[in-house]
Amino acid sequence: MDLILDIGTWVLLLAGSLLLLITGFGLLRLPDLYTRIHAGGMADTLATFLIFVGLSFQSGFSLVSVKLLLVIVFVFFTSPTASYALAQGSFVAGLKPKLDGFGQSEQKEKDDA
């Protein structure tokens, strides 16, 4: 039983870490602020969820698990508010999202054909 829980923890922690890695990659790679917020959203949601659920496997049915799960709830409540404040602030300040120039090569091929 312990072995199964350990394996579960490992799988969840590794999946969460992989998502965090992709998040960091996305923060560097995506073109502008609005698209980078989406990448940051991954770290706030599924990565947090996977890592904390993995950790709560280790503490079993105890008050520690309750606290770990409450952390998930609080992060899920606060992170969209922070993302919204960031997006709204940039929008009000006049930063225009980059909307054109993606997948142009496909469009060109269509035009050529």
Partner: protein, 158 residues
């Protein structure tokens, strides 16, 4: 008054879950501090349907379950988009109309959109929600109005 009592019960439940010390003295302090907090909140008149939305009850729990599944799917989409931007990255910005009547319902809807990776609420003005979406798939997820209807159902406004 009923809401003050339910606030006290919620505070008490949270205290019991977080404390872990159950000697009579400490538990007595816990009860006293919860009573005091509930009393101050009652005196300040800050307990209303927005600050203590207990009436959403089981409906919001089942909505959260649905939302977590959506977050799972959306995360995979965004991860794909980060790894293969040339194939999936199609940012767009559009406005949808929220069908909720109350402010709380609109906030739940706008926050749900932001919480799902791939879509971010940029502006919430009355019932007009401006959304920035990362891919075509995530934009369609908001445009088809499924989430909007579910939030309205949670608020019992249909």
């Amino acid at each position: 008054m009923l809401k003050t009592i339910s606030l006290f019960l919620v505070l008490m439940a949270v205290w019991l879950l977080l404390s872990g010390h159950y000697t009579p003295l400490i538990t007595g302090f816990g009860i006293a501090s919860c009573l005091l907090s509930a009393l101050i909140a009652y005196r300040m008149d800050v307990i209303d349907h927005e600050s203590h939305p207990i009436y959403l009850g089981p409906r919001i729990i089942s909505y959260w379950g649905w939302l977590v599944v959506e977050i799972f799917k959306a995360n995979i989409d965004v991860a794909k988009c980060v790894l293969f931007p040339s194939r999936y990255l199609r940012p767009s910005m559009f406005t949808v109309t929220a069908s909720q009547k109350s402010d709380l319902g609109r906030v739940i809807y706008a926050n749900s959109i932001t919480l799902t990776p791939g879509t971010v609420t940029v502006d919430l003005d009355d019932d007009q929600v401006m959304v920035h979406a990362l891919t075509e798939g995530s934009a369609d997820g908001v445009k088809n109005g499924d989430m909007d209807q579910r939030v309205t159902k949670v608020m019992k406004e249909t």
